[in-house]
């Protein structure tokens, strides 16, 4: 189980390869990766700001809650901050469990909570100027299903 908050890129293939190795009781691995969309060429870059200290606490708390609700053999959360460009990987979560339902549910739970409860803020820069990304009602509403 691990949580990492970092400015540097991460190697998605290498992370998943390492995560998926040596898990004796695991039958199912689910990963989610967030990617910067190019928005039809309108987005030049994105700056992700976060709250050092609280970010790590919030992600660890969300991961603890996922482990409390599902029987996971492993979990991983990586989230970047700083400058990201279209095609860059913003973050990933990975979950490992005996069966697929738990792995899928835990990954979706981690994503829903991470979206609305981890202190990250995105500002987009592009042809139309710069603007903070607004939180979506649907993201807040997604929490009600858990």
């Amino acid at each position: 189980m691990a949580v990492r908050v970092q400015k540097a890129p991460f190697d998605l293939g290498a992370e998943i390869a390492a995560f998926s190795t040596g898990l004796a009781a695991t039958g199912a691995i689910v990963t989610f990766t967030g990617v910067v969309r190019d928005e039809d060429g309108r987005l030049e870059r994105m700056e992700i700001e976060h709250y050092p200290g609280m970010t790590e606490r919030a992600l660890a708390a969300i991961e603890d809650e996922a482990r409390r609700r599902w029987s996971l053999t492993d979990a991983l959360v990586i989230h970047r901050h700083g400058t990201l460009r279209p095609g860059d990987h913003i973050m990933m979560v990975a979950t490992a469990a005996r069966h697929r339902a738990a792995a899928f549910e835990a990954a979706e739970f981690l994503m829903d909570y991470l979206k609305s409860r981890a202190p990250f803020w995105k500002k987009e820069y592009g042809a139309d100027g710069a603007a903070w990304v607004a939180a979506k009602d649907e993201d807040e509403n997604a929490l009600t299903r858990w």
Binding site: G34, E49, Y51, G53, M54, R57, A58, H79, I90, M91, M111, L114, K115, S116, R117, A118, P119, F120, W121, K122, K123, W132, V133, A134, A135, E140
Partner: protein, 83 residues
């Protein structure tokens, strides 16, 4: 008491600084916000619509009615947009 007050995203931009140390006797987050609003227009602008803001006390999300007793760090920011 002495509080570290932190601002993120557009709250930081409106107030014009990421953090400051504040001497206050405010008992709650709301009372602290009232003090800040009374200071200068840029605070009044940042705190004009509290429904658009979130607050954390000592790095735990809470609400504006929260007590500041024993608190060391208060942070104001818009709803998070991680993921």
């Amino acid at each position: 008491m002495t509080l570290d007050v932190l601002y993120f995203a557009w709250v930081r931009e409106r107030i014009g600084l990421p953090r400051e140390r504040i001497e206050t006797e405010a008992a709650t987050v709301s009372a602290l916000v009232e003090e800040l609003i009374a200071r200068e227009d840029r605070y009044a602008a940042a705190f004009a619509d509290l429904s658009a803001l979130r607050v954390a006390v000592d790095q735990d999300l809470t609400d504006f009615g929260a007590s500041l007793s024993g608190a060391r760090e208060v942070a104001f920011f818009p709803p998070m947009t991680g993921g």
